[in-house]
Symmetry: C2
Subunit: 475 residues, 2 copies
């Protein structure tokens, strides 16, 4: 691998960076035909050997988890900037963003009756803590809003366990995460309205091996803030079975969780500058922050590294497109979205020149194409069609498809600026098994699939940045 | 369900227990033809409603984990005896067995360098503890015996991590557990031979969500006993990746583990006495002990409950076979096999009259038939053929097969007594994901599959106990 990369690097040194797709084809040629040779070069180079796995080791193994406000996140941000500088990327910089600073501290949830048992739990991001002795109360199991309303009178003084099951992954319907996550986000506020003293939410997953899933919660306009934690599927169903038989369940919940004043963080940016239209930008990226458990390998180390490595592959091949490809590694996606909001705000005058913004935040699995999201529906429709044309160049990697659909949380704030947003789409059957857990670690990433994702992203970003018209233009 | 069971009970009260299979067919009739009507009644009754799920809740949820030497195991033993008495079983008794008494205590394994990280671990059953301050040492990663020999000089003073991967489940080759578990059992002894100060073994599993797997280890003739723990697949591979890049890894291992003097325990026995040949016995059972994590739902609460409920279904139907069906719930399978050895020793004079001994210790999944194991190969061959005939009666449940193969650890000591041993065979793709972990809990058991297993075991036990000739007789 090393030899091959060295030769490629040599080729870059010998030949000046040259543009592709100028001739003999002209702007009327279908995109796929125009870029067939380039796409093959990019895919071959990415699959033959790249630096993505090494970057994943440095980010996930060496630095580890990186929650907003932590020294580890700032270390990761400096690492990403340094790595892009080492790769020779241009305009590498960190754009300052203030982020929330929530710290978990020690925590536990212990069943006291009917028998002593340590519940597998993770406090939810943003939750308040408990008094040092914890909160001890009977548990009431609630499945949904309807049951909460019906049993509102029973809730006062109790710990509410929301036992909403997340459905098994379905290839047609997707992950069911929306259903699974509702009470993690809103449970504490809803339970507190009826006088609950704490909130437990069944982890948003359909698969568990004693594996609690953390994530953000929101108090919204809650008058009283009660502590909130996720418990494992095993423990949620255990308590629910006991209560179904009428067995009283009492638990003690202890959380040192605390929110400090906002900390300084930043979005990391690096560019492959455009050859002829550098002011026009294709954003590619993911989020550099993660939860404080696991190492954020799928969520979203992979998304960051794919983007970093996509422009690295292009640079090594000497492929400089007309427009700029800008890697943006957003900070604070997990518990605030401060990075995504700041990027859209700080760059609002440039958004008209943002041709597209691609986010990869669904893990590193077999690549499947892109979902496209644009305020202008006609533009979105054209973009889907053009993207399907582009993706036909990647059939050697696997079956690919473009379709209308959501993109990514961090690029979302650019939507109102008219930007064509895209979600980097991968096979999704296991992502939510690892999501926000101790198990989101590098062993879950397949190095071959990582390279395939680099290949797909590099090819698509290059074409979007180089094609004569903008993606979504109907001419 | 309750109504249906009540009606069935009523039927038992009205009709005296009657024998089946006497006429109009005679002993020359193929077994399946003779028992077709009985098999249908048994299967229908078991699937229509039974008490197995309730028993699982009482054993796993209410009592919980039950390691040898613990008060919980003795509670489970009394519960099982009481439950069988309540069901009206005969000769219910607890046969005394002395068992090892190992206690885990508090434990942790903390990575100190290259970064602070809590390793997901479980001490191994039988291991000695560490000094209170733990053992702090560099980690050397070893894959197999060959590498241990080749790098013997590097081992002294280090903590050896055996990073042997267990293969993914293969429908043809099975679980690969034998490969996965080798260094859990023997690693400490082998590492100590070369001066290691502690042993870590990658958990014996192919699937992990931050899930360490405990289990028994043995010092054998080791001159020095070093502490031994299992670490999660995630942490084993993390450390291995670091070491592969030459990064020094130091951990602190703390274990309070201690072995006390043997405690008193017992095998639980209950019978459906034989109609005409009560001295001839078909043993059915599992092991009542479990590890001290999870609740031993698959390993082996399910095996115990299936057996208890199998004779309960037969009794409620008024089906009393010629021979005795004896439920034996063995103690101390997990870390000693004292129960299995004691049963064979205490009953050695009756073994000639043990027609068969069935153990279910592979979890509660879709039932698939039986494996048969007998010292007399000719007898084994005949038994396999006859069992396939019997299993043809269960096609409404699913595809069933009998084949030669291992039975169960607890019935193993009866093999030299000439007993036809049988393993209750179930679909095995996920058993070792849960095995010996916090995740072996009741949510992993499907109530319908539990009933199907009760139906299969009840039908087979009844026919083995009632058929004119003994299973394996060639006439």
């Amino acid at each position: 691998m090393r030899t091959l990369i060295a030769l490629t690097t040599l080729a870059v040194l010998i030949s000046p960076m040259i543009g592709r797709g100028e001739s003999p084809t002209d702007s009327a040629t279908p995109i796929a035909d125009r870029y067939r040779a380039d796409a093959r070069r990019i895919v071959d180079a990415a699959l033959a050997g790249n630096d993505a796995w090494r970057k994943m080791e440095e980010l996930c193994d060496d630095i580890g988890p990186r929650l907003s406000g932590s020294p580890q996140l700032e270390k990761a941000i400096r690492w990403a900037a340094d790595a892009m500088k080492r790769d020779g990327q241009e305009n590498v910089r960190i754009e300052k963003v203030m982020v929330p600073h929530w710290v978990r501290g020690k925590e536990s949830c212990t069943m006291l009756t009917p028998r002593s048992h340590e519940i597998a739990m993770l406090g939810l991001g943003g939750s308040v803590g408990t008094p040092p002795e914890g909160i001890t109360a009977p548990v009431i199991v609630i499945h949904d809003d309807e049951e909460l309303e019906a049993r509102a009178a029973e809730v006062r003084g109790k710990i509410v366990l929301f036992n909403q099951a997340m459905p098994q992954y379905d290839p047609e319907k997707g992950s069911g995460y929306g259903t699974g996550v509702h009470y993690r986000v809103h449970g504490a506020r809803k339970a507190a309205e009826h006088g609950a003293v704490a909130c437990l939410a069944r982890s948003a997953t359909a698969v568990s091996l004693h594996t609690p899933h953390t994530g953000a919660m929101r108090y919204g306009d809650a008058k009283v803030k009660i502590p909130a934690a996720a418990v494992s599927l095993e423990d949620a169903t255990f308590i629910a079975r006991l209560r179904k038989r009428g067995v009283p369940v009492t638990v003690n919940l202890r959380m040192e969780a605390r929110t400090f004043s906002d900390g300084e963080s930043g979005n990391v940016i690096g560019e492959l500058r455009g050859r002829t239209n550098p002011e026009e930008v294709v954003v590619i990226g993911g989020h550099i922050d993660s939860w404080d458990v696991g190492t954020g390998a799928h969520d979203d180390g992979g998304g960051c590294v794919m983007a970093m490595e996509a422009i690295n592959v292009l640079r090594k091949l000497g492929l400089r497109p007309r427009r700029t490809i800008r890697v943006v590694l957003f900070t604070n996606e997990e518990n605030g979205l401060a990075g995504g909001r700041a990027y859209a705000a700080d760059h609002k005058n440039e958004l008209a020149n943002h041709v597209a913004a691609i986010e990869s935040d669904s893990g590193v699995f077999r690549p499947k194409g892109y979902t496209i999201d644009c305020e202008d529906e006609a533009r979105e429709g054209v973009a889907v069609k053009q993207m399907n044309d582009i993706l036909s160049l990647l059939s050697s990697i696997g079956e690919m498809e473009a379709s209308a659909g959501g993109s990514g949380a961090d690029v979302g704030p650019m939507k109102s600026g008219g930007v064509v947003l895209m979600g980097h789409h991968v096979e999704g059957s296991t992502y939510f098994n690892y999501h926000h857990t101790h198990a989101d670690t590098l062993d879950k990433v397949d190095p071959v699939e990582l390279s395939q994702n680099v290949a797909m992203l590099a090819t698509v970003a290059y074409i979007l940045a180089d094609m004569p018209g903008r993606i979504g233009d109907s001419r």
